[in-house]
């Protein structure tokens, strides 16, 4: 069997600590986009509800077990599930949602970094123009960090998830490190 590498190019995910900040690379999440097909909103809502797949509203994320999700754009979500049990995530979703949706595997299109620190706001002020202190837990948005398009989920004030382009994982981590060193 072929051996996988993380987005940072290691066999196991990395954790970087700078002062109170911890950046953890996550390698254990499967991702799929979910886009409702034209006129099938109700079919999707019904099927998702019975399958326990959250479909949060604009600019928000909802965590669950095994399914979590964040809103991407009108009528489109990114669905998260444990990689160990849902590696072929689209097959799982297909059986739950049928042809009401289009879904595309996105697991390896992204690198996921989980950030935690008692106060992340000084760091995030240097990285994104989002007004995070004014946003509630579960806020999710697309933003730009050092020229990279990134999905940001504010789990709580002290925990933020970033999904950045996988091919630029090292650049994104470097951007986090440089900004963190000027803060912490």
């Amino acid at each position: 069997m072929l051996k996988p590498l993380t987005a940072l190019g290691h066999e196991t995910p990395q954790t970087v600590t700078i002062g109170p900040l911890r950046v953890t690379e996550r390698f254990d999440i499967a991702l799929s986009s979910l886009a409702v097909r034209r006129g099938r909103d109700k079919d999707l809502a019904k099927a998702a509800k019975s399958a326990g797949i959250p479909l949060p509203g604009p600019a928000s994320a909802e965590a669950g077990d095994p399914w979590s999700a964040f809103w991407m754009t009108p009528e489109m979500w990114m669905i998260e599930a444990p990689h160990a049990s849902h590696e072929d995530i689209c097959a799982h979703l297909k059986s739950a949602l049928g042809d009401a949706v289009s879904m595309t595997e996105q697991t390896d299109a992204w690198v996921r970094f989980d950030l935690d620190a008692p106060d992340l706001s000084p760091l995030m002020q240097r990285l994104t123009n989002l007004d995070l202190p004014a946003k509630p837990p579960g806020f999710a948005a697309r933003t730009v960090i050092d020229h990279l398009g990134v999905y940001l989920i504010q789990r709580r004030a002290s925990e933020i998830t970033l999904y950045g382009p996988r091919a630029s994982a090292q650049s994104l981590l470097h951007a986090l490190e440089v900004a963190a060193r000027s803060v912490y």
């Binding site: 069997m1 996988p4 590498l5 190019g9 390896d108 992204w110 989002l130 994982a169």
Partner: protein, 986 residues
């Protein structure tokens, strides 16, 4: 004695920590100052008034002001790579070990050889460049300009890389308050108590504005103490952020302001990892300008000597820093504020030799020689003021010994930021100054002295009231109680310049612009303020005329007989004060200028010593040298030959991949591609040609049908983003009724091309399914598994003319797959090739790429005209039918070979008929891409040639003026290799 000009601490302490000494140097000489000092205050405390030489005449100059408006005291701070020229000594915060040097002088500040310019001033009047150096024109760049630049200028950059780092960031607030004087503090207190998210920014390192420079009381306590207490309360409010050392430098759209925070400028070196400065972008719902006002001088003969400064600055040095600039001080004023300077200094034991008050009425200052209706008409003292000449109201002329003179011509509200959107300030006669006009940036308000409210009471009140109104607009109540404070009027009678004698009276000290220059501009009809500025340089350079603009235009108004508002002002633009280039760059420098994208095989390729090339943000393998190969050509030739002889592997992950799903996915493809895709069977690929609306080729690539309503489109690497954006535009804006969903999967799959006669044999070793020609025919596509069950995709497509496949696995397995392919390919002598070999293979096969997809070429030009289906409508189809697009004499893709195989070709060469002169009239087209073909043993190329399809088999010249080559070439088919395509269908 050190710090001989400090006021005795038993009389006045100032806001410095006299218990601690800081050692610093200026022009190599060591001095001492205290925490809380600026470089200027510390030098003045040590009796140093001479701090610089003027721009043009090299006149000795000392500080004119005590703030960021300073035109004269510009110095070089720090040494070596960290040296920063043109820094204002008046705002440079003193620290232990600070090194400063004067600039624009040689060999020394006290003896400057170029002060000869001062003696030759008659030749250097405004416009002298334009009059003197017009002829001969060729001399300007090489001779005149270098001489002028050497003689006139500011500081010199170190020419070394800046060792410090800079940061950037984003802040949000309900109310941004610009300036922490009495109005700003009161506004922050009112808004902060009401619960608004407030940012209070001030350029000074000590918040309080003029309260730190005055002796006024607020609520019975010194103003500076009230400011400190207010700051303490603001610090306790979690919704208020106070930012000292932060200058708001510009107003932009939608409530956005830029601000520079000097994080480490007050330290010898930044702390590890910390930036020197941070550029903030501040998003505000409302902003309040409380930036105070700047005092202006009065122009009179020789008004620029060291020791002559603004009267308000003179008392600031005394009140804030405990410095008496001179021990025999005179004041020249046209308003009551000037009298305060005299009173404050006298209270500190300074000898006030005279107050020269140009006004004739009013009360006299007690205990001071107060000359009413008098004017200063001249001064003396080469390197520092020695005396002033005064003309009394009676006309009597008197010389008075003085080593410091404070001048007050009134105060200009700092309206700059309100005019950053081109709003014109309004003139107010009662204060003889401009105040913010109508039509400034939306939701930008002004209060305090910046709005023309000069008394402390008026400043406090206007700040509180502005905050209350803003809070109410945001749905919050903001009651306030005003503390008691003075409310004295300014009482000004304007006096702009003293008309006397023939000497020079300075208006703009930074640019050496005098009253005579303004008169000359008027005489030569440069009377419009914008012309006045360009002709005389009034208001240019680092201070942007903060102390000089209004006097200059007032003088022009006098000369033209217009009013000051009729004369108008020039336009204020960001930044308010100078900003270092490094600050604008922030973290984006060197390798951090842009992010990189690494391919799935990057780690493996680096281990092999691959040479990488930047392709957009991607780092692609260009070639991989083997031991013994000393030139890139050796490596590339080997990669090409091995691929065509057996099998080659190439990382093609960088090609854009777009997942297109929905019941109308095929219909969308039919509309965006020139050829048809809705009829493509499931499990097959097709080459697609995408046109722009104007009929020119936009992009190409293969698209595979993976299911009934599911396609995977590939794009060129360069156009991956633009094609995706185009499809989204089509889907969302042109045809929102279609049931189509899109998402990029470029980085989700690691994709490798496996090409060559042994491609199938190699893949058969790792693919779990049968991929014989019958099971997986040419242009087949499908989901497969590899290496015992890993999900993968296989496409039988070729960009090389060889039997070829592209195999894709989830990206995390990309590294393992390249290693597996290399291992499995060992028995076939498989080679991994880079972009150079990719280029050779595709040109040998005649495939178009970047050089041909140049945005100016149609399908017909590329020999692909038949691909544009007339059976359906598609973007660009209608335009491609136009006559001009079907000109038989138009450009046609051709192949090119040198007649002499040893001769080289160069891309960009133009085709000319044999014997024709190399002129554009004979230009037949151009050579787009060129490589060396190891199979043909010579350079080969593609090119666009007029009526090229009819010129196959002819001979032309390829001429390149840049590479100075002129090569005889054969025009041939663009398909150099296997034109029948037998190999790729094998």
């Amino acid at each position: 004695m050190t710090q001989s000009n400090r006021i005795n601490p038993s009389i006045w302490g100032g806001q410095i920590d006299r218990a601690q000494n800081l050692t610093f140097s200026f022009d190599g000489r060591s001095y001492q100052g205290h925490p809380g000092d600026t470089l200027a205050s510390a030098l003045l405390a040590n009796g140093v008034q001479l701090m610089g030489r003027s721009f043009k005449y090299h006149r000795p100059r000392g500080p004119l002001s005590s703030g960021s408006e300073e035109p004269n005291a510009l110095v070089e701070l720090r040494a070596g790579a960290a040296r920063e020229p043109n820094t204002r000594a008046t705002v440079a915060e003193l620290f232990d070990g600070l090194t400063a040097a004067s600039q624009n002088r040689w060999p020394s500040l006290t003896f400057d050889a170029l002060s000869i310019n001062d003696r030759l001033s008659a030749f250097f009047a405004a416009g002298f460049y334009y009059k003197t150096f017009m002829w001969p024109a060729a001399f300007w760049e090489k001779i005149y300009e270098p001489i002028i630049r050497r003689a006139a200028g500011l500081g010199a950059v170190s020419r070394l890389e800046d060792p410090d780092t800079y940061d950037k960031g984003f802040l949000h607030c309900d109310l941004l308050i610009i300036g922490a004087g009495p109005a700003g503090l009161m506004a922050a207190l009112t808004a902060g108590r009401a619960g608004l998210r407030v940012i209070l920014a001030d350029e000074d390192f000590r918040m309080g504005g003029r309260l730190n420079a005055e002796t006024f009381e607020i609520s019975g306590q010194p103003g500076a103490d009230w400011a400190a207490a207010t700051m303490a309360e603001l610090a306790s409010l979690p919704n208020v952020r106070t930012m000292a050392r932060t200058t708001v430098v510009g107003a932009f759209d939608h409530g956005i302001y830029s601000a520079v925070e000097r994080v480490s400028d007050h330290l010898p070196t930044p702390l590890p990892g910390k930036p020197r400065q941070t550029l903030w972008r501040i998003y505000s719902a409302h902003a309040l300008l409380t930036g105070g006002a700047t005092e202006r001088p009065i122009a009179f003969e020789n008004n620029d000597r060291p020791g002559i400064m603004l009267a308000g600055a003179l008392r600031t040095y005394a009140n804030r820093w405990g410095v008496a600039v001179g021990d025999r001080v005179a004041i020249f004023t046209n308003n009551d504020d000037g009298l305060r300077s005299a009173a404050d200094l006298q209270a500190k034991g300074v000898d006030i030799v005279a107050v020269i008050d140009s006004r004739t009425g009013g009360a006299l200052l007690p205990g001071i020689r107060h000359l009413r209706g008098a004017q200063v008409i001249d001064t003396a003292g080469r390197l520092g003021l020695k005396s002033i000449t005064v003309r009394a109201d009676s006309g009597k002329i008197e010389t008075i010994s003085a080593n410091a003179l404070g001048v007050s011509g009134g105060w200009n509200p700092n309206v700059n930021i309100t005019s950053h959107h081109r709003s014109k300030p309004m003139w107010r006669d009662d204060i003889a100054a401009f105040v913010p006009g109508e039509g400034g940036p939306a939701n930008l308000h002004s209060a305090g002295a910046a709005a023309g409210h000069f008394s402390t009471h008026a400043a406090l009140k206007s700040g509180a009231e502005a905050a209350r109104v803003i809070a109410e607009a945001m749905g919050k109540q903001a009651p306030y109680v005003l503390p008691a404070a003075e409310d004295a009027p300014l009482s000004i009678t304007p006096l702009w310049h003293v008309p006397h004698g023939k000497g020079r009276a300075w208006i703009d000290q930074q640019n050496d612009v005098t009253v005579k220059d303004i008169k000359l501009a008027h005489q030569e009809n440069f009377t419009n303020v914008e012309h006045l500025k360009r002709y005389t340089t009034l208001g240019m350079a680092t201070d942007q005329g903060k102390t000089s603009n209004v006097i200059g235009l007032a003088l022009m108004a006098e000369l033209t007989g217009q009013t000051i508002p009729q004369t108008g002002t020039t336009v204020y633009r960001p930044p308010y004060t100078p900003v270092a280039m490094g600050t604008l760059a922030g973290r984006s420098r060197g390798k951090d200028f842009k992010p990189f994208r690494l391919t799935p095989s990057h780690k493996w390729a680096r281990e092999q010593g691959a040479v990488f090339v930047e392709v957009g943000n991607w780092m692609r393998t260009q070639w991989i040298a083997k031991p013994g190969e000393t030139t890139w050509r050796q490596s590339v030739d080997r990669e090409v030959l091995q691929t065509r002889a057996s099998v080659g592997i190439c990382d093609v992950t960088t090609l854009g991949k777009i997942d297109i799903q929905g019941t109308d996915a095929g219909l969308l493809l039919d509309r965006v591609y020139a050829n048809t895709f809705s009829t493509l069977p499931v499990g097959k690929c097709r080459y697609g040609l995408m046109l722009r609306e104007d009929g020119m080729v936009f992009d190409d690539g293969t698209t595979a049908r993976m299911g009934n309503h599911e396609y995977v489109m590939t794009t060129t690497t360069a156009n991956a983003v633009t094609v995706f954006r185009h499809l989204e535009f089509c889907r969302q804006c042109l045809w929102p009724d279609l049931d189509v969903q899109l998402i990029s999967t470029t980085e989700a799959w690691a994709q490798y091309s496996v090409a060559g006669p042994n491609a199938r044999k190699l893949l058969a070793k790792i693919v779990d399914q049968d991929i014989c020609d019958a099971a997986f025919p040419y242009m087949g596509a499908g989901n497969i598994t590899v290496c015992g069950g890993l999900r993968a995709r296989l496409f039988r497509i070729s960009f090389s003319g060889e039997l070829a496949y592209e195999i894709a696995v989830p990206t995390r397995y990309g590294d393992a797959l390249i290693r597996a392919l290399v291992e499995a390919g060992g028995e076939f002598d498989a080679v991994v090739y880079g972009t150079e070999t990719l280029g050779v293979l595709r040109i040998e096969k005649g495939h178009v790429a970047g050089g041909e997809l140049n945005g100016q070429s149609s399908a017909l030009n590329m020999g692909l005209g038949k691909m544009v289906s007339k059976k359906k409508d598609s973007i660009g189809m209608a335009m491609s039918l136009r006559e001009g697009m079907n000109d038989p004499g138009g450009y046609w893709l051709v192949g090119v070979r040198p007649v002499d195989p040893a001769a080289g070709l160069s891309a960009g060469s133009h085709f000319l008929p044999l014997g024709a002169a190399p002129t554009s009239a004979h230009d037949g087209g151009w050579l787009t891409s060129k490589v060396f073909s190891p199979h043909l043993g010579c350079d080969i190329a593609l090119g666009y040639l007029k009526a090229g399809d009819q010129k196959i088999g002819t001979r032309m010249r390829a001429v390149n003026f840049l590479t100075k080559t002129d090569t005889e070439v054969d025009i041939v088919s663009p398909h150099f290799f296997d034109p029948e395509g037998a190999r790729l269908r094998a």
